[in-house]
Amino acid sequence: MADPIIQLENVTKRFDDFEALKGVSADIREGEFFSLLGPSGCGKTTLLRTIAGFEAPTSGQVRIAGQDMAGVPPNRRPTNMVFQSYAIFPHLDVAGNVGFGLRRSPMSAAEKARAVDEALEMVGLAGYGRRAAHALSGGQRQRVALARALVLKPRVLLLDEPLSALDKKLREQMQGELRRLQRQVGITFILVTHDQEEALIMSDRIAVMFEGQIAQMANPEMLYRRPVSRRVAEFIGVMNFLPARVTASSPAGIEVEIAGLGRATLSGDSHAEAAPGEPPSVGIRPEMLTILFGNEPETGRVAEGEVREVVYYGDMTYYEIAIDGAPGTVTVSMRNLVNRPVLRRGERTRISWDERALILFR
């Protein structure tokens, strides 16, 4: 495994009397696609700007490629940023924008022009060099901003919610392109996003942030399957929570009594933090609950309940089901198959589940 390109050590940032970053520590590896994920206002942009050098940490240390960055201005850091507003220079054309950072480079004019063309080609804007900046669409501005940063071959590319201004179709397309681009150039990408799906799709690793702190740092699969707290579990995807009572606890396993599901034994490592003051609960993802249609044979454990709501998505159907003996409803997702009917509201059904899919929050 490569050495970390960026090391954050207990970084804090205070604006007047507001603490935007409360001790952030992380190692970001060379060449990885790293995402900062969290709700709006949790400090993602502040952390990114601290790495770029636009904010000085109140305490703590930022090291890039092993060097302490204290007092190093943004123009002397091996990072480049794609701003949320894209910050395309309105008085320059596309080539002028992309070539802006090459002004001080020792390259000849011809070499610079070639570098600009290559960068434009890389982002799919070959031949757009003479276009005026204001004549570009949102997606094109985004590509120009990318090309402008990549042409300098930074060690780290910082992206602040680069896709949030695009419509859904274009966003999904750009997610794929950004990922491809990152693999192609091999540069470390740090992406800020509040969209958990985007983070899951694109990242090698994700840091989930709440209120100026990293709650969990893991790869997408670990984050989804083993959230360390109820808060992370709720932020990443959908999770059902059922009230639970711990009846016995030993290194071999934890025995719980779950409302609606009954007794279960969880392995010692499948537990996480509940929110402070919350009673213990057990979480299970919608796809880990399986509806048994008609008289399908039972696999694993079975609960019964009544369908309260049906949401049909085409490829999937989401059900809200009130399980006998449990408060509220749980969400169950089922892939639509040829031989699978779609249940109606009010129908009774059996649901099968497996205790290995349970996570205890306490």
């Binding site: 201005p73 940023m81 910050a87 309105p90 008085h91 802006f100």
Partner: protein, 269 residues
């Protein structure tokens, strides 16, 4: 019915506003020494005679020099103030900005008399420079208003992007900030120039032996036979002022469009 009254009111209002100015060119081309109807024939001789008065040339040169100095100084000061007020938070920012803008509504006669007293008390002589100082005082608020709107519509992340791409703060100012606020600067220069060129009261109090154009014109009003010449001069001044103002507004708007911002100021609707 209401619409008709409003329309009549509007027409009357505009007539009252512009009819006197419209009289200027009419009498400037009128072939008679007396300013009265009915008109005589058409002539260009008043404009020709304008060219034969050396004192008038001196006054015009004085005015242009003073207007140039005042508008350039006010624009530089305005840029510093606009930059500070749109970028930074500092203690008592609002009152400070308020006091800087005050000359906008202060009666010029007060400004003129106070400056006169101060200059004489300080033992200084009245000269071009005293007028320039007075004009800087009244023009700077206009410059600040124009340039604030230029700076406010400038996206901060443009400058950050330039620094991120390797430029220093100074080269960022030169390569990004300056070109983007340039229309505002031009607009401020032109408006400052126009205001200073037309200004009478302060120039009247603070001019020594070298009058500006408006002061010279005022002096000539004592000689009735000179009035048609003054009318010709006035016509030129009005046309020049309108041209300058329209150009200034054109640049101000283009600047805001270029920086991609919303129009939030300006003097012409």
């Amino acid at each position: 019915m209401k619409g008709r009254w409003l329309r009549a009111y509007t027409v009357l209002y505009l007539l009252f506003l512009y009819a006197p100015i419209a009289l200027l060119p009419i009498f400037a081309f009128n072939d008679a020494t007396i300013i009265a109807f009915p008109l005589g024939g058409f002539t260009g001789r008043w404009f020709v005679e304008l060219g034969k008065v050396p004192a008038l040339h001196d006054a015009a040169l004085n005015s242009v020099f003073i207007a140039a100095m005042a508008s350039v100084s006010a624009t530089v000061l305005g840029m510093l103030a606009a930059c500070a007020s749109t970028r930074y938070e500092f203690p008592a920012k609002r009152p400070i900005m308020g006091f800087i803008m005050l000359p906008l509504v202060l009666p010029e006669i007060i400004v003129g008399v106070s400056l006169l007293v101060v200059i004489l008390r300080a033992g200084l002589h009245l000269s071009h420079w005293s007028i320039i100082a007075g004009h800087i005082l009244i023009v700077t608020p206009f410059s600040i208003a124009i340039l604030s709107s230029a700076f406010a519509s400038l996206d901060r992340s443009l400058e950050e992007a330039a620094i991120d791409l390797g430029e220093t703060p100074w080269s960022t100012f030169r390569l990004v900030t300056l070109p983007l606020v340039m229309p505002g600067i031009i607009s401020s220069l032109l408006i400052g120039f126009t205001i200073s060129l037309d200004e009478f009261i302060i120039a009247f109090f603070l001019s020594g032996s070298e009058p500006t154009l408006p002061v010279y014109i005022f002096g000539q009003l004592r000689f009735p036979q000179k009035i048609p010449i003054i009318m010709a001069l006035g016509t030129i001044l009005v046309v020049l002022s309108i041209l300058l103002l329209v150009t200034a507004e054109y640049f101000r708007r283009r600047g805001i469009r270029r920086a991609g911002g919303q129009d939030s100021g300006g003097f012409l609707g």
